[in-house]
Amino acid sequence: MIRLVADQSAQIRRAAEVRFSFDGADIIGHAGENLAAALLRAGCLILRNAPHDDTPRGAFCCMGLCQECVVRIDGQVVEACRSEVAEGLIVERAG
């Protein structure tokens, strides 16, 4: 089929794979990859549950404002969409 917007996904080269964990599960990402994106690509959509009604939440604004994607790294609550993946990184749920 003729495409006017070519599928360029095959031309994307990503950095070496690294292993990190989220909520105890092993996840494969790429060195330097944005954490929210890596979790999304791994199919980890639920990053936390809302404090008042327990509804599942995931990355929403993707620009560091909405606080829906917050996770815990080294004891600090950080936005996944403003964090980077590295080998051995331990990411825990914040809520």
């Binding site: 006017l4 599928d7 950095a15 599942p56 939440r57 560091g64 404002l65």
Partner: protein, 473 residues
Amino acid sequence: MRDVFDIAILGAGPAGGNAALASVQQGLRTVLLDEQPSAGGQVWRARSASILAAPETPESRAGAHLRSKLSTSDITYLKDARVWQIAREGDIWQLQVLSGGQSDAVEANALILATGAREFVQPVPGWTTPGVIGLAGATALFKQNLTLPGRRTVVSGTGPLLFYVASEIRRLGGEVAAVVTPNTRADWLRALPALAGKPRLLGRGALWIADLMLARVPIYWGHAVTEVLGHDAVSDVKIARLDAEWAPQKHVATIGADSLCLGNGLIPQIEPAQMLGVPIHYDAALGGWVPDVSPDGVTTIASLYLCGDGTGIRGANAAALQGRLVGLRVAADLGRNTQQARTAAQRAWRRAACFGRSMTVLSVARPGLQAVTSEDTIICRCESITRRQLLEEIDKGAASANAVKSGLRVGMGPCGGKFCQTAIAALIAKSRGRDVSTVAPPTARPPLRPVPLGAAAGSFDYDDLPIPKPAPL
């Protein structure tokens, strides 16, 4: 004594980046602060380090151009730097900056706010489901990570951003289940005269739409998403036809998808300006509440300047031109002669701003769209507060954004009201039979961004707490 810069610029997007370049070229000691890992703002967001190679786009080229100019300049550029408080100490602006878990002060004689925009999403049932992301949020995923929101995505919203997102999903190898937009073909025809002056953009847009049609992706003009189905993940998206005021009329289709990109235009991020006392007014054609500011960035507050989408949504080109203009204006106020350059910059900005405005008009939600928010829909995502709870509070007498905030805590959660206040103001206006231009946003207060208590306290020691003398009896 601490180092005081001539000028501090908050936000390294097209506006802030170009303001910094203009001011440093005039020999001013310039500090540029941005909360992201690279300059470029949202529209020219840089790729993450995990992308070793990828095809270029007009946006990636524009961003790379700005970043290369910034990196070869004498600008002090602070990345990953979150400004959470701004205050005037005598004649000096003092910014509290959170970076790497530590808070430090940055000081400057003049301050330019180039805080850009965020997205407005009219809440629909199920919009908190993981897999639903903002339309502008999706562009951040594409630009920084070349990552798709899911395997099969419904793309819904207003204005030109919609077709950009749908096209990027296809370019990055994803599937677009459907494109759903409240805009009609007639709305777009009315924007044609403005687009005619931008043949390259017009061509790009036409190509995106033609590609979707060739791929037989359904485009629902004059429709909106009314519900997202699925609990832990998106399973389906329901859509309805809209009337002329964008109120949903008839359920039309339930579309199977694992993700949804949803957005109803951009709104200026005015909170820092508002907090510093700049008066604001309502202008729907600029995205809502905007600060009172001259084209060259001058406000009622001495040595405080504004530029870019934070002064009204006019798009990246206008923002870049205005950034340069405002940088030159600050330089003039600090004693440099920039008159000639400013005249040319202002003329170029006016043309770009006129086009940007016509795109904003297409993007702004009409009042009827509020009806996609059902009684039980969460409006305040942070505190899980529904439309019903908000209506009860309004019925009890809360007639302003501040009153609703005091009563229900909406806007006091972690996001600070950034994703609920526009919908709440519209709800107050509708319930009270008033125009939305009479419902001002709540008072802006620090912190401008979430800040850990320890970092905010800094090296403060409890024993140093000054204890005032007891009052005489």
